[in-house]
């Protein structure tokens, strides 16, 4: 098969993207962990390490630019590179959301949690599951799997709504919990954004495979 060199470069590009995805996933896990276990040092590492995520994004964008200029990609090759550019931005933003969660953790500081965290970790698992499945679909160019990821967004949104109501109840019952409850809603919001960006990635997968750009599964919320 011809264009071995280019195929190799495309594979490397994809590997870099997956590496970035992995960095982001770890950042999210660590940030939620730091929240659960009140580990402020861990939270500070997440904030510190966000710059590595940014660097990686720029490195991937550079690669894409180079490939566009030097390889005259057409059709699916072109769509892949453009999709990588989009996805890289989404991943880097997810990293920012993880950093946001860590900052919340730092702000809450030494205060005890107003309630044990149950739904937030559940939401995290769902969101990271979506991210993993979206990147998997990307690797396997599986547009059916990507579409399913988009449909999971409804569950996330439902959970987000639920967490919000619960925290609202706390705030109404006891005004002293307002500050922390607000922080916790930010955490849920960040997680919802992470899930939403995973659906963006899934839409890119569909674009690579079919060449069509569309919003899949518009949210009820």
């Amino acid at each position: 098969m011809t264009r071995i060199g280019f195929d190799h470069e495309l594979k490397q590009l994809q590997d870099e993207l997956l590496a970035l995805g992995s960095m982001v996933e770890k950042a999210v896990i660590k940030s939620i962990d730091s929240l659960k276990r009140r580990d402020l040092a861990l939270a500070r590492t997440v904030v510190e390490e966000d710059k590595f995520i940014n660097h990686k994004r720029f490195a991937i964008e550079e690669r894409c630019l180079k490939l566009l200029a030097t390889q005259q990609p057409m059709a699916q090759d072109l769509r892949i590179i453009v999709a990588v550019l989009h996805t890289t931005v989404d991943l880097e933003r997810m990293g920012d959301h993880a950093e946001g969660i860590a900052r919340v953790s730092i702000r809450i500081g030494d205060d005890p949690l107003i309630k044990p965290l149950i739904d937030i970790p559940r939401m995290t698992d769902l969101a990271l599951g979506m991210l993993r499945r979206a990147l998997d679909a990307f690797t396997h160019r599986d547009s059916a799997a990507a579409t399913r990821v988009c449909q999971e967004d409804d569950e996330i949104d439902a959970l987000h709504e639920q967490i919000y109501r619960e925290l609202l109840t706390y705030m109404l019952q006891d005004p002293r919990t307002i500050q922390q409850a607000t922080y916790l809603t930010w955490v849920a919001h960040n997680l919802e954004r992470i899930a939403d960006r995973s659906t963006n990635i899934a839409e890119q997968v569909v674009f690579i495979v079919t060449g069509k750009r569309e919003e899949i599964g518009s949210s009820k919320y």
């Binding site: 098969m1 011809t2 264009r3 005259q72 057409m74 059709a75 699916q76 090759d77 072109l78 769509r79």
Partner: protein, 288 residues
């Protein structure tokens, strides 16, 4: 068919609609709003007993640039030559199926091939000016056609349209062979324009030229497309991507099998999201 008029502007001057862009419903015919200049219907080309092209059905839109791409030997030039009946110069060539020009059968019994070639001109891969003066080269076509009058104006107009006038206006009587490759090719284009064709066929017009000359020819093509229908065969995919409005992809299964039309469509579609895997493989350079 009527004789071509002497002035070089084509007789019909239509309003040219903008290219249809991709927001039509899926199955809409992208050529619905186009005037069709040339059309083939189940065209087959035989050289003796060998089938060179099989079942080619395509339309060429008027005043657009249609590119024909495909691997070497798949029959692109053969297809191009069907449009101006140049295939007949080769021994044993014949066609089956139809080739229509503005709805009329080009191969009908009462159609004179030389008449066809006045209305459908051709430019070749390697510039082939006659070993005569620049003036005589451009005037050749009109003189053949019986135009014995003063051809100065016609020659000037043709050279202007081919973006060559300024470079040669002081040396019209000098030999055409003194020009550079790119200039010679533009001279060949001027020569073709002088007989006032409606269609210009170009068989890899820039492949023998350096990059700068190539780009000049491409610019010229796009300028000419405002008034003429252009069909170009090219093996340079980036060129097809740059200049064409519609692209046709031809290929053959190899081993002497006939060439077939795999896909045809607006060039944006062909180069960003082709329907056929073979088209995709070809334009992304995946062979073997």
């Amino acid at each position: 068919m009527a004789q071509a008029p002497v002035n070089i502007r084509p007789s019909k001057h239509l309003e040219v609609p903008p290219m249809p862009i991709g927001d039509e419903p899926e199955n809409a015919d992208p050529m619905a709003s186009e005037t069709i200049a040339l059309e083939t219907k189940s065209l087959q080309v035989f050289y003796g007993s060998r089938l060179a092209l099989d079942g080619i059905s395509m339309k060429v839109a008027a005043r657009r640039i249609t590119a024909i791409i495909g691997p070497s030997g798949c029959g692109k030039s053969t297809l191009l030559r069907c449009f101006n009946r140049m295939n007949e110069l080769l021994q044993g060539a014949r066609i089956a199926g139809e080739v229509l020009f503005m709805g009329e059968d080009l191969y009908a019994r009462d159609v004179d091939p030389t008449e066809v070639r006045y209305r459908i001109g051709m430019v070749f891969q390697k510039p082939n000016p006659f070993p005569k003066s620049i003036y005589d080269n451009v005037a050749f076509g009109p003189r053949i056609n019986g135009n014995k009058g003063n051809l100065d104006e016609l020659v000037e107009q043709s050279l202007r349209r081919a973006a060559l006038w300024d470079e040669v206006k002081d040396r019209l009587k000098k030999s055409a062979l003194e020009l550079s490759g790119g200039q010679q090719q533009r001279l060949c284009i001027a020569r073709a324009l002088a007989v006032a064709p409606e269609v210009i066929l170009m068989d890899e017009p820039a492949s023998a030229l350096d990059p700068l000359a190539t780009l000049k020819i491409e610019d010229l093509m796009q300028e000419l497309a405002k008034d003429y229908t252009i069909v170009i065969v090219t093996h340079n995919m980036q060129q097809a991507a740059r200049v064409s409005d519609y692209t046709a992809f031809l290929t053959t299964e190899g081993g002497g099998a006939p060439g077939k039309l795999v896909e045809f469509g607006p060039k944006d579609v062909i180069f960003t999201n082709p329907r056929d895997q073979r088209t995709q493989d070809y334009i992304t350079g995946r062979f073997g």
